[in-house]
Amino acid sequence: MHSLTIHELQEKMKSGEVSSTQLTQSVFSRIDAVEDRVHSYIRLLKEEALAAAALADENIKKGDIQPLTGIPIALKDIVCTKGIPTTCGSHILHNFVPPYNATVVEKLRDAGAVFVGKANMDEFAMGSSTETSYFGPTRNPWDLERIPGGSSGGSATAVAADECIASIGSDTGGSIRQPAALCGIVGLKPTYGRVSRFGLIAFASSLDQIGPFTKDVEDCAIMMNVLAGYDPKESTSVQADVPDYRQFIGRDIQGWKIGIPREYFIDGIDPEVSAAVKKTIDVVQKCGGECVDITLPHTQYSVAVYYIIAPAEASSNLARYDGVRYAFRTADARDLAEMYEKTRMQGFGAEVKRRIMIGTYALSAGYYDAYYGKASQVRALIRRDFDEAFQKCDVILTPTTPTPAFKIGEKTDDPLQMYLSDIFTISANLAGIPGISVPCGFTAAGLPIGVQFLAGHFEEGKLLQVASAYEKSAAIEKRRPTL
């Protein structure tokens, strides 16, 4: 039961074949069976979930059925949950209990969702492997020696290992799409401003977006219907109409122009990834799409731009963790300055400190123009590349990641190599456009591979349409990880 999709389970719950209580119990017995090996969660909410499931069952009996009634959902531990600790994967927030819910949490709850738990993540979402979590690493259910991707690794593995039906992640440079690809599931990063960030613990405010992980594309549309929309509490959320995303599922893409950017098919991509993505191009053509060569000439600069802008914003956002108003404070400080410095030294892990240092340096007197100023200019060029490309095509097709999941520990001592694993996902955050990763095959060793589609601002519908057409025609083998 726990391996089914939202839309399959909704039918079963409506017909009375399955209750939310049975489903939720099934999810928790799956968690009991696999969680000690995968470690998707920082905190489980079994009691709360069973109470919510019982309520959902009552509502179903009354005929009150909302888009997610009775569906077990996992939340990345970066979204604030009222009265439930929210750690952001960090020691500094290990005892933080938010006094309010993030807007997405309110929306999911109003839509009837049952919250299973808070999912593991890289500390403050800074990482590509979920190895920097203060609570220990998450493992890839397809190969427990390998990383699940990150930073939303726990949200991805919870879906891939059937420890929930769908989940919420956040994506600042690829943190939804990259783990979705490496875990063999669907993950969507919406347009900047499409989903409210209220109650999302801030990493890089001009790049962060919340989005869903699901088992198929239709479920992704169902989740987007709940998440998208303007929020008066979040001044960068955009007042634009939100379509019914389900209408894009099952529509054909006859005559669509699919942009293939030459900069994304370069040496250094794993040959099995490259072969799988080229096969995807054939399938999309069979669906009626016409492939066109496009160029995104500033692609090669995106990682460098990102690693100035994201740390710069992070160094400013994370200045609030000073041990004064909430969460962790060092026990041994004689004066205020020492309290700040020791609280932050003991509270943050190495990757977070590293990024605070890069950001502080890039913003410091005498270096601002050379680093932050320059990066902001190149960011404009990256966005211009996409604006020009979307004059020539409806969507862009690329690999999601340059390689399949790498081994745990392989890149932890080499931050730059870790950063380069996000090379194909970062540009979308810099330009603010939406992107989706969809499973497109497996390596010979059985590791999942993902293909990424990108579209113009607020064109999530197009992404769902092309992804659903591809998913239907490709008929990728329905494998589940053996755990």
Binding site: G193, P232, V238, R329, R344, Y361, Q377
Partner: protein, 95 residues
């Protein structure tokens, strides 16, 4: 080398991070690697390019100047590491 260990100490001070000697050494090497990579951007001539600070062109988001419900003192202090009465308590600032 763009950054010396002294530079790293200075940046750590600005960021209010107390770093250990071994971290200092490690960070100096790693930050230099990263900064060297970032230097790639200087290949590009960006004269006259307007910097982009936001993905979407949002103008000021105004709302009506109306008092809404706020957290209240008790809730605001609930997560404090140290509080007394209506205040956050910190180590002595002035001698």
């Amino acid at each position: 080398m763009k950054l010396s260990t002294q530079d790293v100490e200075y940046v750590a001070k600005l960021a209010r991070l107390d770093v250990t000697d071994s971290e200092k050494e490690k960070f100096t090497a790693q930050l230099n690697d990263i900064l060297l990579y970032i230097d790639k951007l200087n290949e590009l001539d960006t004269t006259g390019v307007a910097p982009m600070s936001h993905a979407i062109a949002v103008t000021n988001a105004f709302r009506e100047d109306k008092v809404l419900e706020s957290l209240g003192t008790q809730k605001a202090l609930a997560n404090a590491p140290d509080a007394r009465g209506e205040f956050f308590r910190v180590p002595k600032v002035i001698d």
